[in-house]
């Protein structure tokens, strides 16, 4: 009654792969990672869809909901205003490099809640191996 084990194992491996590939194909899960300059110049259609944006904070205020700040490109002088609500990392402040996910709407980068991350430029490692 039991089918040949080898066949079943092969089928299981196959179906795991299939799930993986199907997810990649259907959801195209990757979001584009762009700089402020790329967002401004609409590289790869970055201004039309949801992207993950990296930049340096120039004007920051922790108050207001949604909170507003301006990001500057790391290698040019271009900037973009960001509107964000949700939790703010401890290290968020002017001149920090941050990454945030959202989309450009009428010249303002509207971020998804709770997607703001800071990168710390100071010589300091997390300890969290």
């Amino acid at each position: 009654m039991s089918p040949r084990p080898r066949l079943v194992v092969a089928l299981v491996v196959g179906s795991l792969l299939a799930v993986f590939l199907a997810y990649q194909a259907l959801f195209n899960s990757g979001t584009l990672l762009v700089s402020v300059a790329q967002l401004r110049s609409d590289t790869d259609g970055a201004a039309q869809k949801q992207v993950t944006l990296t930049g340096t904070v120039v004007r920051a205020s922790r108050n207001g909901s949604p909170m507003r700040f301006v990001l500057r490109d790391e290698s040019s002088r271009q900037t973009v205003p960001v509107s964000y609500r949700g939790s703010v990392p401890d290290a968020f402040q002017t001149s920090r490099r941050v990454i945030v996910t959202g989309r450009l709407e009428h010249g303002v980068f509207v971020a998804k809640p709770d997607t703001l991350l800071t990168k710390c430029p100071s010589k300091y490692t997390s300890g969290g191996s």
């Binding site: 909901s65 939790s87 990392p89 401890d90 490692t125 997390s126």
Partner: protein, 654 residues
Amino acid sequence: MLAVYATAGGVMAGLRRDRRTMRSAQNAFAAAVVSALVAIAALEYGLVTHDFSLSVVAEHTSRKLPLIYTITSLWASQEGSLLLWLLVLTGAATIALHQNRHRNRELMPWVAAVMGAITVFFAGMASFVSSPFAHVAGAVPRDGTGLDPSLQNIYMAAHPPMLYLGYVSMSVPFAFAMASLITGRADARWLVSVRRWTLVSWTGLGIGMLLGAHWAYVEIGWGGYWAWDPVESAALMPWLAATAFLHSIMVQEKKGMLNVWNMVLVIAAFALCLFGDFLTRSGVVQSVHSFVQSAVGPYLLAFLAAVLAFSVGLLIVRLPTLRADHKLESVISREATFLFNNLLLLALAFAILWGVVFPILSEAVRGVRATVAAPYYDFFLVIFGLPLLALTGIGPLIAWRRASPRSLWRMFRWPVISALAGAVLLWLAGFGSSPAGLTALSLCVFVTVTIAIEFARGTSARRALAGGSWPRALLDLINRNRRRYGGYVVHLSIVLLVVGVTASSAYSTVREAHLAPHQSLRIDGYTLRNDGVFQRKGPNYTLDFVRLTVLRNGRPDGVLNPGQRQYDTGQVGNEVDIRSSYATATDLYSILQGVDNNGSGGVSVKVLVNPAVGLVWLAGIVFALGALITIWPDPREARQLARRYGELLARSEA
């Protein structure tokens, strides 16, 4: 101090040439432990006496830092953590060689050689690339820059050493596997020696991850504890591979199957450990953790490539000697269940790995940088994790070789019936809002019942045999079969973890609000009222906090004081306030997001109700307990091992 250090490196290098004389190799490792200790002691002395001429000290501590964090800041820096890494590595090598001094005579020289090679690499890194005793350029500063505030936490003091223990002790199973391949003695003997080491590594990684998660939960303050950050994934991947390995070695020990597979797993686990270290230190992917573009990165990558090339090459050369003794007879058997468990674990690890390297791959292939986010990982955790959970229940009960449908029904009728009943009850109670959550919780019922049945059956059999009281029989049972029942305890902790994670992620409630003075917000039966904003001066910060009075059914039910610290250095730190209920394990979690500038006393707050999150931490304690039961040395097991070892020897020589 540099001299002390160079000597340590020299001793380790000398060891490579001495590998034939085992005693000397063993002593060399012991000497290496001593030099690593001396180096650490020297650095600690520098830290504690505030010797700011050392750049490590100047950059990670300050005079105001409390003593305990001054001591633990050793592993806040990369240089210091390399030293700790070396200490654990040489310590593990010494213990492994000492344990096996009368066993595995052909294997041990090669084990020593492989461990030696790994040690030489890391010692080289610490001596030449990232020296912990480098001096600051220019004038000696009067005070250090201080330790990042979020690291001044007791969980952060314990989390890195745990992870190092996990990452590093994986090199022992790897060394044994390589030795076994080099000598061509590819029977199951090496497995016997490495099971406990794998357990140590696996336990270290598991507890390390949970400590880190708890730290994030109480300190970082976004209301969660796991964010699929690449560095978190970095520790999860080897843990998954090690879990697969721990299960499949049972199949090889008992049935002589999956020999090649086990080699692949141990190589994968070790490579993933190195990869994890690389991810953390290289800054190659966008991560909240990868702060430093460090010089160590390229070397680690090269070492990883060399290790992979060497071990995979060796495996291919030795492939003919790894023939399995038996074939899989039926898909309804314990072997098959373990195999599927392995496949699922590896599939999950691979999906995570894909997610982590996706930005790099997509830049290389399409020229576009892209990343994947939490929904990607969550999808695979659910799609691969739920069947895995079901197998956790099935595996321990199903027969080896071949199980008949009739015996299956006898074994599983109660677990299946209770899981279905549980599903209906949960659905009626309104848990249907998340189908994945409902499935996960029902599977948890299934697994719990199978484990309970196993314990009940074993205990009553033990009682019939030896008499005595029930608790006595239960303790006896666990004591006599530590591997088996310790394993069940670990399974139980996985169930607790799944319940905690499921409930706190699928059924949590979040409210954000701006509250004027005396205004209140409602969440899940709680009412929180803004009863004023206060300020307090700390040693190196100013704390602003809001007093939120909690009301439940109109009656006062405690106070929450979430705040924000403004450090003198200009940094800001969230001080969340969490109220845990021990009865329901539910947390009321409050975050102060901002205080109005105009002095009106208005605040922006975020409040979460995280049900059953306490079970996640409880799972950690149960996990540690179960792991301890399985690791604890057992003279009875040692005798059994000696016998099995003899049998294997006889078989391999026959």
